[in-house]
Symmetry: C2
Subunit: 82 residues, 2 copies
């Protein structure tokens, strides 16, 4: 398992409720891919969302996001953390 | 005070020790601007570093990063969190 940071662009105007609902949709099915989405942060003004997860691969992260209708624009492994 | 996510590109090959040292340099002076850098995540392969902070403004975050020699390429307020 490894940590991943994924980034979504084009989410301008996202609300707290929409972020919560999107995150919950991921949580509801994440175990199918042994992914866990830990946190998400959103900037409604630039339309950027960052999701931190633990997962077996970047592809597993992306498969969950695709199934819940919000494919990530970038998925980066982040093996280093402080 | 607000949350910010800042992003650094071009950090290919960054090591755990370099990330730790850069983060510590920020911590050492962050109080000058009432910033607190909470976490940082790095992808040495793409050369991307993400820093999560609490700060009075994006400019305050950037001033700390500039003084420690690693100006951020993007600083986003992230008012929404899950």
């Amino acid at each position: 398992m490894a940590k991943f940071m994924d980034v979504h662009h084009g989410m301008k105007g996202i609300t707290a409720e929409q972020l919560r609902a999107a995150h919950q949709a991921d949580l509801d099915i994440e175990s199918d891919e042994r992914v866990h989405f830990e946190r998400a942060w959103a900037d409604p003004e630039s339309g950027t969302v960052y999701c931190l997860s633990e997962a077996p691969s970047a592809e597993a992260v992306q498969r969950i996001h695709e199934r819940t209708g919000h494919k990530a624009d970038e998925v980066h492994p982040v093996p280093l953390t402080v």
